[in-house]
């Protein structure tokens, strides 16, 4: 049968060894990085929900603008202007040619 003090020493030795184990000196940096990551994830959730809403809103606006543009169009009759030209009254080119003859 083992002595009580021996058992107590064995327990104490293990506890001392584990107590003396130092955590990584960058543990606090690691913790803060993990927290920042969590916060980024949380912030990223909103656009994720907003994305389909924004797509739907854009589509609705495009369709609505299409309807507005379509309704605004009126098939107005194009005015047909008839120009009546009397050839007889047209300037006679001969007039310009007269000077040449005089020379």
């Amino acid at each position: 049968m083992k002595k009580e003090t021996d058992i107590e020493n064995r327990i104490e030795q293990l506890i001392r060894e584990e107590r003396n184990t130092e955590p990584n000196p960058y543990l606090s940096t690691r913790v803060m990085a993990a927290i920042a990551k969590q916060q980024d994830k949380k912030a990223g959730l909103l656009p994720m929900f907003l994305k389909p809403i924004l797509v739907m809103a854009s589509l609705t606006i495009v369709v609505w603008l299409g309807i507005i543009a379509g309704s605004a169009y009126t098939s107005g009759s194009t005015e047909q202007a008839t120009v009546l030209t009397n050839d007889a009254t047209s300037e006679n080119f001969a007039f310009y040619l007269q000077t040449e003859k005089e020379e």
């Binding site: 058992i7 064995r10 955590p23 606090s28 993990a34 927290i35």
Partner: protein
């Protein structure tokens, strides 16, 4: 800055102030977790998880107890949950732990014997009933006075004393086995 002011500042959006709390309590939390998992890498992972949980639920910290009491409770529950999750530890990792020799320049045979011995003591601690183990770890690993252990465990100081006595008896019985 006082702890309560610091907490208020964090709640007001000064997230970076949380690093001060982490730096103050990381060693204490690490030691408590170490008492449950006995492995440095695991203890670091769980310590990180404890602080992330504490940060996420900081708005629920009512200030009825001290911040350390609240934080140590999170550390205990996270460690116990993690142990439950890792209960089925692979044979390979257990063998690797057993064969991992300490860095001291002892005789390999002696070092192996010591490692096996330590494994037995670890096993003895791990087989303690949950409440006895909690009281034992808080009292021996973090060397907290019985009053603080009682506050963390939400029991009376007398009950803590009883738990510690029973834990000691159970450890002895386990280690006296042939």
């Amino acid at each position: 800055m006082q702890e309560t002011e610091l907490i208020q500042s964090i709640l007001n959006g000064q997230t970076a102030d949380f690093s001060q709390l982490v730096k103050t309590y990381e060693t204490a939390v690490f030691r408590i977790v170490m008492g449950f998992v006995h492995q440095k890498e695991d203890a670091e992972d769980i310590t990180q998880e404890v602080f992330v949980k504490a940060f996420q639920s900081l708005d629920r910290f009512a200030g009825r107890s001290s911040f350390s009491t609240w934080l140590f409770r999170i550390a205990i529950h996270t460690s116990l949950n993690e142990l439950k999750r890792r209960k089925r530890r692979t044979l390979w990792s257990m063998a690797a732990d057993l064969l991992q020799l300490p860095s001291s320049n002892k005789d390999p045979e002696q070092a192996f014997a010591q490692k096996t011995e330590q494994e037995l003591v670890r096993k003895a601690i791990d087989t303690l009933p949950k409440k006895q183990r909690m009281a034992f770890i808080l009292s021996r690993y973090e060397e907290l006075p019985q009053r603080d252990v009682a506050q963390i465990m939400e029991i009376s100081e007398g009950a803590v004393e009883q738990l510690l006595l029973r834990a000691r008896d159970n450890l002895k019985n386990f280690l006296q086995r042939p």
